[in-house]
C-alpha cells in the first residue's frame, strides 16, 4: 500500500520529465535515422545511417569538431578564472557591493542571441565602436575585421562568450566561498599563511565539489550554446567559427533538413555523455586535482 503511494506521488514528476525531456530525446533519435526535410514533413522515410554518413563524410567535420573544442576550452577556462577572481573580490563586504554586483552580473540576464547581435555591431569592422575607440586612441591605424578576418573571428566570439559567462561562475563560486568556515582562515593566518597558500590550501579544496560540478555544467552548456556565434557570424567567415551546435542550426535554417540536424544532435549528446563519464570517473579516482 505504501509502495503504491510512492509510485502515485512520483507519477506527476515522472510524466513531466518523460514528456518534456525523454520524449523529445527519443523522438530526435528516431528522426536522426529518417530522411525528414521540409519537402516530406508528412511522410518521412527510414534511411538507416545515411544521415550519420553524410555528417562523417563531410570534409569540414573534423574542423567543426576542432572548433568546438577550441570554443569550449578557451571559453570555460577563461570564464572560470575571471569568475573566480570576481568572486574573491566580491567576497568581502564593501560599500555599494550590492549595486556593484547587480551591475557586473547584468550580462547574465540578457539573451545570448541579443548579446550576439549587440556585439556584432560593437565589433563591426567598419563602423563598430570598438574599432573607432582603438583608432582614436592610436593603437591601430586601420579598423580590424574582428568578425570578418579569419584570424580574429574565433577569438572575438570566445571573448564575448567569456564576458557573458563570467557572472555565472562568479555567482556559483561566491555562494560556495561564503560557506567556507572562517575559523580555517583564522587558523591559517595565525600560522602565517599568505594569500596564495590560503587560496590553494583552504579555499579551493573546500569549494572543490562546486567547482567540479559547475565546470561540468558549464562545458555542457557552452557546447550547446550557439546563440552568440549565430548572432555574430553565423559560423563564418568560411566556417571558421562553426561549432557543432551552430552547424545544427545552419542545417535546420538553411537546409531545412531535420533528419540531418537530429543526427548532429545525437552526436553532440554522445560526445557530451562520453565526456561526462570520463570526467567524473577520473575525478572519482583522483587522477587529477582541481
Amino acid at each position: 500500500m505504501k509502495k503504491l503511494w510512492v509510485v502515485l506521488m512520483l507519477l506527476p514528476t515522472f510524466s513531466l520529465v518523460f514528456l518534456l525531456n525523454l520524449y523529445p530525446l527519443v523522438r530526435g533519435g528516431v528522426i536522426s535515422f529518417q530522411r525528414l526535410t521540409v519537402f516530406n514533413l508528412n511522410n518521412p522515410r527510414y534511411v538507416g545511417l545515411a544521415n550519420y554518413e553524410t555528417i562523417l563524410r563531410d570534409p569540414n567535420f573534423p574542423r567543426i569538431l576542432w572548433n568546438t573544442l577550441v570554443w569550449i576550452a578557451w571559453s570555460v577556462s577563461l570564464q572560470f578564472i575571471f569568475g573566480l577572481i570576481l568572486a574573491l573580490l566580491l567576497e568581502k563586504p564593501f560599500k555599494g557591493r550590492g549595486a556593484y554586483m547587480g551591475f557586473v552580473f547584468y550580462p547574465w540576464a540578457l539573451s545570448g542571441f541579443a548579446i550576439g547581435l549587440l556585439w556584432s555591431w560593437l565589433l563591426n569592422g567598419q563602423f563598430g565602436v570598438v574599432n573607432d575607440l582603438l583608432v582614436r586612441m592610436r593603437f591601430i591605424k586601420v579598423p580590424i575585421g574582428f568578425l570578418s578576418d579569419e584570424r580574429f573571428a574565433m577569438m572575438s566570439v570566445i571573448l564575448v562568450n567569456v564576458w557573458y559567462g563570467i557572472p555565472f561562475f562568479a555567482i556559483m563560486l561566491l555562494a560556495a566561498l561564503q560557506s567556507v568556515p572562517r575559523e580555517l582562515y583564522e587558523a591559517a593566518q595565525i600560522d602565517g599563511a599568505g594569500f596564495f597558500q590560503r587560496l590553494f590550501g583552504i579555499t579551493l579544496p573546500y569549494i572543490r565539489p562546486t567547482v567540479v560540478s559547475t565546470i561540468l555544467l558549464r562545458i555542457i552548456w557552452v557546447m550547446n550554446f550557439p546563440d552568440i556565434i549565430y548572432g555574430m557570424t553565423r559560423g563564418g567567415p568560411a566556417g571558421v567559427t562553426t561549432i557543432l551546435s551552430v552547424q545544427m542550426l545552419n542545417v535546420v535554417y538553411y537546409r531545412n533538413n531535420f533528419g540531418l540536424a537530429s543526427a548532429l544532435g545525437v552526436i553532440v549528446t554522445a560526445v557530451l555523455l562520453a565526456f561526462a563519464v570520463v570526467y567524473l570517473s577520473l575525478l572519482e579516482k583522483g587522477e587529477f586535482e582541481l
Partner: protein
C-alpha cells in the same frame, strides 16, 4: 455574491451566443515593426467593413518564421491565411496543405489587371496558383549621387565595367570611403548571380543556372570570368563586408561608406525613414559583358490552408488586400512593386524618380531578361548554405575560383540540373 456570479455568467453566455464572431488566423513571414503596423492597419479596415470578423495576426521573428510556418501547417494547426514567398512556395505546396486558388481566380476580376509575369509566378508550383501575390521584388541598383558626384560620377554606371571603374576610383580606405556594397553573409546567392550571369548572353529564361543549350553555367569559361570580376568588386568594398547581411548593407549605404548597392524595393521603405529625398536614387542593373543582366522576379503573397474552415472569408480578405487602393498603400508603405497595373496609374508615387531603375528595366526586355531560380528543387536550400561558405572561402583566398565553380557544378549535377 452568488447572485452576482450567476448574473455575470449569464451576461457572458448571452454575449458569446449573440456575437458569433469569426476569427481568421493569419501568419506573416517578413516580420518587422514597420510591416506589422501596416498589416494591422489594413486588417482594421477589413474588420470595420466586415462586422463580426476578427483577424488574428501572428508575427514570428523573421529568422525562424519559415520553420514555424512549415511545422504549423504540416501539423494542421489552426491557420487560415499563410504568407507564402517564392522561396517557401514549393515546400508548402508539396505538403498538400495549401488550397488551390484557381476556382477563386477564375471568378475574380483581379487577374485581368496583373502586371505581366505575376500569374505565371503564382503558378510556379505545378502550374497551379497556391497564392495570390501582392508584392513583387526585383533587385536594382541603388546609388548615392551626393557622394558619387564628388568623385566625378553624377550618373549611375550603365555597365559592370563602369561600375567597377567607379568603385575603384571611389575606394580610399584611409578616409573610410569604399565603392561596392558587398553582401557576404545570409543568402548572398542573388548578389553573386547578378554579377556572374551578366557575362552570359544565353541564360535560360526558366532557370538562372542553365544556358539555353541546357548545360550548367558553372562549366562555361564565362562563369570564371564573371566570378573573378565579382572578386574584383569585393576589393572595392570593406574587407569586413564578408560578414555583412542586409542590416549592415543598409547601414553602409545610409552612412555613405559604400554608395553602390544592389537591393530589393523593400529597401526603399527603410531608406525613406533614414534618408533625405534625393540623396539616393535607383538605376537599372548594370549590364555585363554578355550585353545583358538577368534579374529574377521575387514575389510574396497570401495563401489559404486547405484545412481552413473559412475559405471563402479568407479569399474575401485576400481580394480586399489586393484591391488597388489597399495594394497601393501596402506597396508604398512597405516598399514593394505592386502586382496590379491600376496601382501604377492611380498612385503617382510609383511614377516618381525612386522607381526609375525598375521602370527602365521593365521597359527594356532586350537587355533585361527575367529568369527564375530552381526553387522547386529540393537541393535549393542546401545550395544557399554551400554557395555562401564556398564564396567566403574564395574571397579569403582559401579556395580557387576554378575549384568553387567545379564544386557548384557538381552540386547541381547531383541535384539533377543540367545535361
Amino acid at each position: 455574491m452568488r447572485k452576482f456570479l450567476v448574473l455575470l455568467l449569464m451576461v457572458v453566455l448571452l454575449a458569446t451566443t449573440f456575437s458569433q464572431q469569426v476569427t481568421l488566423r493569419m501568419i506573416q513571414v517578413f516580420t518587422s515593426p514597420l510591416r506589422t503596423k501596416i498589416l494591422e492597419e489594413i486588417i482594421a479596415k477589413f474588420e470595420a467593413q466586415n462586422p463580426g470578423v476578427k483577424i488574428e495576426l501572428i508575427s514570428p521573428p523573421y529568422e525562424t518564421a519559415y520553420q514555424k510556418i512549415y511545422l504549423m501547417v504540416s501539423a494542421e494547426e489552426p491557420l487560415d491565411i499563410v504568407e507564402v514567398g517564392d522561396w517557401s512556395l514549393s515546400a508548402l505546396a508539396s505538403m498538400g496543405k495549401l488550397l488551390s486558388l484557381e476556382p477563386y481566380l477564375a471568378k475574380s476580376e483581379l487577374p485581368k489587371y496583373f502586371v505581366p509575369g505575376v500569374l505565371e509566378a503564382a503558378r510556379t508550383y505545378k502550374g497551379t496558383a497556391y497564392l495570390l501575390p501582392n508584392a513583387l521584388y526585383v533587385k536594382t541598383l541603388f546609388y548615392r549621387p551626393d557622394i558619387t558626384s564628388k568623385y566625378g560620377f553624377p550618373n549611375p554606371p550603365k555597365t559592370m565595367d563602369e561600375l567597377l571603374q567607379y568603385c575603384r576610383a571611389l575606394t580610399k580606405p584611409e578616409i573610410g570611403q569604399y565603392g561596392f556594397n558587398f553582401r557576404g553573409k545570409g543568402y548572398p546567392t542573388a548578389f553573386i548571380d547578378i554579377v556572374m550571369t551578366s557575362f552570359f548572353d544565353d541564360i535560360d529564361p526558366n532557370c538562372m543556372y542553365l544556358k539555353k543549350d541546357g548545360k550548367l553555367i558553372f562549366e562555361d569559361p564565362r562563369a570564371l570570368e564573371g566570378l573573378k570580376f565579382y572578386i574584383e568588386l569585393y576589393k572595392t568594398a570593406p574587407k569586413d563586408s564578408i560578414n555583412w547581411g542586409f542590416d549592415e548593407q543598409v547601414n553602409a549605404f545610409v552612412s555613405g561608406i559604400t554608395p553602390y548597392l544592389f537591393q530589393d524595393p523593400d529597401t526603399v521603405g527603410l531608406l525613406k525613414e533614414l534618408m533625405k529625398e534625393g540623396t539616393y536614387k535607383t538605376a537599372p542593373l548594370p549590364i555585363g559583358k554578355g550585353g545583358k543582366a538577368y534579374p529574377t522576379l521575387g514575389f510574396s503573397g497570401w495563401g489559404i490552408t486547405s484545412y481552413s474552415k473559412h475559405k471563402d472569408l479568407a479569399w474575401k480578405f485576400l481580394e480586399f488586400f489586393n484591391s488597388p487602393e489597399i495594394n497601393a498603400y501596402w506597396c508604398r508603405e512597405y516598399g514593394a512593386l505592386p502586382v496590379d497595373k491600376r496601382v501604377y496609374e492611380i498612385d503617382p508615387y510609383f511614377k516618381s524618380e525612386v522607381f526609375a531603375g525598375w521602370r527602365a528595366m521593365f521597359d527594356d526586355p532586350k537587355h533585361y531578361q527575367f529568369t527564375k531560380y530552381p526553387l522547386d528543387n529540393e537541393a535549393w536550400s542546401e545550395w544557399n548554405e554551400l554557395h555562401e561558405t564556398t564564396m567566403q572561402q574564395v574571397l579569403l583566398g582559401k579556395m580557387k575560383p576554378e575549384d568553387a565553380l567545379k564544386t557548384w557544378a557538381n552540386f547541381w549535377k547531383k541535384a539533377g540540373l543540367g545535361k
